[in-house]
Symmetry: C2
Subunit: 397 residues, 2 copies
């Protein structure tokens, strides 16, 4: 169990303080789980106050003792009531709070209103974009966890061919994979930041299930077991010569390596095999350009152009009206981090970003073929964090 | 895969419409996953508009086709842009929207602000309490799913003694239980409504792990595998004569049956065995009184008094400063539903409520002993929805 070192936490807080000065903020209060873990080093519930200069203050509702043992910061105090927050901040030396940032992309309105009453003279603005942009650039400390998550993904990947049997259900196959991950130390909880977004490990799909869309912002969804959870593995059983999609998230110390591979029992039809080769070709084309400075919009356009050129525009990243408008996305403590490598993305690649690239083709009634890898953007170019062979795996019948 | 029948959805919407008339609301827009599933019958992303009288309108962003196949309602349309919502509502016959309810307990501020701009002349109030009170009373249709979830819990419970071996880690034991649930059709995703609340299947703990508190609003937490997910199974290995707590959520068609049992390898020390007996005694005392009309505050007080009388007040529902102030809570599509059976609860039991009762004792450095069952409150008294024997299970060494 890792404790985030103080030197790592300090750099994170200082990066936010630099943004606070730009925006004229006197303070930020961090409240959301993942941001708490990132800045405070502990997910215990409370209010992590960051002044524009100087040391932060962690006011903990539960569990105080555990927060002290998890967080490397000094100023940690138990909090009885929300109403005590201003006094703690004043005692911390911040006399006049005029403008404060909160995580308005995730904070529920009722909590925001309670905070607003306590800080009735304070101008409250949204700081979520700045937080997400800081978290978008990973440190060497974080990079090591991605590498470990990638190794775990490889270990599970190697066992997949032996799990593919005709007649096996998606549910059973999925349960087997999840069990392998879990035994290897997967935390179970997979975090997404967007409202209403949820996912369990990832998705598996046999054949036509891979062409089903659902509410999640992804080009695939799967059937799921129930309308109460309409995604992921369903009850379809495996047939030979159909694509098996495995889109899973390996997690180590909170860090996610999102990856996808396509398998089959017996060879795939030729057109699907060729589509898989185009997916690899698109990945290679992007990777060749994926140096710091490359525009995310340009990388997406490059993918679109290549799909078009190979006659697969209709099937690329969804089909018909259900295309998603991206080919990649940032990953980290959440699976939906910045940057989006897609339409309208304002970002250029920067050293330290970690992105999942997922060129996929959807064939209605037949399924998904494609792959996904996680990449660290270094000044030397991209480092593959999912050390899994890229080839299509057809298990002999 | 169940499709919620129209007659069931109509009753739910009519119950909300009755509350809307009381509050002078012209409409409610439902946006959150679980509420969408409850009222629209589909969790596909969109805006489910309920006028104060007449038929609702489901405007779907993604996936429209799937929403049509999952929801039994008539008026389902694809939505391109948020800005189109007012026109859809006007075309639906609701000309002047003056006062509207939203789920302000879960809706992020940024989304609320976007909706506020679109409905700039509409007074927006919080409707979440009314929604939670409607969902608090379960229908015969819903009751059947709880019963099925209870049956699945029993099937897993029966296999637990054979999984207890000295030296086995919490992680491996937990992975084995999760695998049993998953193969039996568990959806994986466990929903909680509170901000920052999250959980994976539930918790297992061996010995002292059962006495660790964490950020989750529960009297137990477990160590977890990482500070990035500080709850549930950790790496502690099983010793003889220590309490094994299994606090898991069985789920069927979205409905949760939360249940806890205590096991051991070889007999427990006498004082822990006696504490378990007191937990059963507290459960029995509550159940005798758990008829419609009983006050949730009184039922909690009854539990507190009995724990005090047996000399176990310090250990009841936490220890020292870390007591939680309840002995039970509503369950349904989320594990943290109304009513709370605890301090300050404004509710009396009503026919149709489903509650988890969880008298537990925490012994610092030694662990948790206690049990939890799910109960349906009928006019004849409580029906046990977790058909698991209540006795402490000591597996012979």
């Amino acid at each position: 169990m890792q404790i985030t070192p103080l030197v790592e936490l300090k750099v994170r807080v200082e990066r936010l303080q630099a943004k606070m000065l730009e925006k004229g903020l006197d303070g930020v209060i961090i409240m959301e789980n993942t941001d708490l873990f990132y800045f405070a080093g502990s997910m215990q519930q409370g209010f992590f106050f960051i002044p524009s200069t100087g040391e932060p203050l962690f006011l903990v509702r539960r569990n105080y003792e555990r927060a002290r043992s998890e967080s490397s910061w000094e100023n940690i105090f138990p909090l009885e009531s929300l109403r005590d927050i201003p006094k703690f901040i004043a005692d911390h030396g911040i006399a006049a709070l005029r403008k404060m940032g909160l995580e308005l992309d995730v904070l529920p309105v009722k909590i925001y209103q309670s905070i607003g009453k306590i800080f009735s003279r304070v101008d409250i603005i949204d700081i979520s974009r700045a937080i997400r942009e800081i978290r978008m650039i990973k440190s060497p400390y974080e990079l090591e966890y991605f590498r470990q998550a990638g190794k775990k993904a490889l270990a599970v990947y190697r066992q997949i061919p032996s799990l593919l049997q005709e007649g096996k259900s998606e549910l059973l196959f999925s349960a087997e994979l999840e069990n392998l991950y879990r035994r290897a130390g997967h935390q179970g909880v997979l975090r997404m930041r967007a409202f209403n977004a949820e996912m369990y490990f990832g998705h598996v799909y046999f054949g036509e299930s891979g062409a089903l869309h659902t509410f999640v912002d992804s080009c695939t969804g799967g059937r799921g077991l129930t309308t109460a959870c309409p995604q992921g593995a369903g009850r379809k059983t495996l047939k030979s010569h159909e694509p098996v999609g495995v889109d899973y998230a390996s997690i180590y110390e909170g860090y996610i390596v999102d990856h996808t591979r396509t398998f089959s029992l017996g060879a795939l039809p030729g057109d699907l095999e060729r589509a898989y080769e185009v997916a690899v070709e698109i990945q290679e084309a992007i990777i060749k350009q994926a140096f710091p400075g490359a525009s995310c919009v340009d990388l997406y356009q490059l993918a679109l152009d290549l799909a078009e050129k190979r006659g697969l525009a209709f099937n690329f990243m969804g089909c018909g009206p259900e295309h998603v408008k991206f080919v990649g996305h940032g990953i980290g403590l959440e699976i939906d981090e910045l940057p989006i490598i897609g339409k309208g993305s304002p970002y250029n690649l920067l050293e330290g970003m970690v992105v999942a690239l997922e060129p996929k083709f959807i064939f209605p009634g037949r399924g998904m073929v494609g792959l996904e890898n996680a990449w660290y953007i270094s000044h030397n170019g991209p480092e593959k964090l999912s050390p899994i062979p890229d080839k299509l795996v057809s298990v002999p019948l």
